[in-house]
């Protein structure tokens, strides 16, 4: 499947070039994945996503890739770039310090085609842990207009509210690679985000959901999830703090 394509006319005198190896796989008619190679021009600000879109524009429009915001907000363009899960829009080619850039679909996700993967399980796990505030009263019937929090109370969970559901943590997780039923670091970190929120009253029901044979106890604290998060969330820490609630060290 390998091929090398390149544009002969250089776009800019400062542009350099790299070989972009893109994983190609269509489950409908391919038995295994292969790589196609493209010679791509880049500037020091060019991102991997821009390079892939350049390939789609000039060489092969059939390359499947999911993307949207191009600014690390939507969490759509997660993929394995040179062996590490990263957001393609948030990774500059120049910072990879390599003449060959390999892009593959994220691990631990079923492949739709090429670089696009299915997110159903991630969203199902996220939904399962009830990612919303649970309490009997609401702002509509209460005398107060809003649920007040001190800066210290906000500090308990705010880091975890930055999750963009890109799935990079689940892709890096070694437990997810073997245990297909494992709830995953993304959902566990979000469970902590709501359990630690002083406005939330659903702690017990949430802890019950993750207290399963494929729940929080299957995390081996490899810490890979925290290393790859593009938003600085530390799911590994969230999981350990959540364990503190389950073991009775936190209330």
């Amino acid at each position: 499947m390998a091929q090398v394509s390149s544009i002969s006319n250089k776009q800019s005198p400062t542009a350099k070039s790299i070989i972009l190896k893109i994983s190609r796989f269509n489950p409908e008619h391919d038995e295994s994945s292969g790589f196609m190679e493209f010679n791509v021009q880049y500037e020091k600000w060019t991102t991997v996503l821009e390079a892939i879109l350049d390939v789609k524009k000039h060489f092969d429009h059939s390359v499947a890739v999911r993307y949207s915001c191009r600014q690390a907000t939507c969490g759509s363009c997660g993929m394995i770039i040179n062996g590490k899960p990263r957001l393609a829009c948030f990774t500059k080619i120049s910072e990879l310090d390599s003449n060959v850039i390999t892009v593959e679909p994220m691990n631990n996700f079923p492949v739709i085609r090429d670089l696009a993967v299915k997110f159903e399980k991630l969203f199902d796990s996220h939904q399962k842990i009830k990612p919303y505030l649970i309490r009997d009263d609401t702002e509509l019937v209460s005398d107060e207009k809003e649920f007040l929090q001190t800066p210290e109370e906000v500090e308990q969970y705010i880091q975890f509210a930055n999750c963009i559901k890109c799935g990079l943590c689940n892709s890096a997780c070694p437990t997810m690679a073997t245990d297909s039923s494992f709830v995953g670091p993304q959902a566990l970190a979000q469970a902590y985000r709501y359990v630690a929120d002083s406005r939330d009253k659903g702690k017990d029901s949430r802890l019950k959901i993750i207290d399963d044979s494929h729940g929080i106890w299957r995390c081996h604290f490899a810490g890979s999830c925290s290393q790859v998060c593009p938003k600085g969330v530390d799911p590994a820490m969230g999981i350990q703090l959540l364990r503190g609630y389950m073991l009775g060290f936190r209330s």
């Binding site: 245990d179 494929h214 299957r218 389950m246 073991l247």
Partner: protein
């Protein structure tokens, strides 16, 4: 049983086993190490009731911790309702079997039947 209860037992048995196995190893130092492992001295250990109780406790702690660890590893290797039930009950039965066999050895030796 809830998974958190099982894991509390798992962590507790690990800590207790480390403490008791440390005592067990330190007891070898009460005399020359090779001498402490001679047949008559080993039998004497079994016949000393407090020591036999400690050996029984080590057996239970290690069996519970070890077979739960095995269960966890096997659950991570493969998934499926039937498989998971077989693994859980299989490990429980194996654990009870090992404790029963080990207890039989300790009791028989303690009572001078060996």
């Amino acid at each position: 049983m809830r998974e958190s209860t099982i894991m509390k037992i798992h962590y507790g048995t690990a800590l207790a086993a480390v403490a008791l196995v440390a005592v067990h190893i330190l007891m070898r130092l009460t005399m020359n190490y090779a001498e402490s492992l001679e047949y008559e001295n080993v039998l004497a250990n079994y016949k000393f009731v407090p020591y036999a109780i400690m050996l029984e406790l080590i057996l239970v702690l290690l069996a519970v911790h070890g077979f739960n660890g095995l269960r966890v590893i096997l659950l991570e290797l493969k998934q499926g309702r039937l498989y998971e039930k077989a693994v859980s009950y299989g490990c429980l039965v194996a654990m009870i079997g090992l404790i029963a066999y080990g207890s039989r050895t300790i009791i028989m030796t303690n009572m001078g039947m060996v």
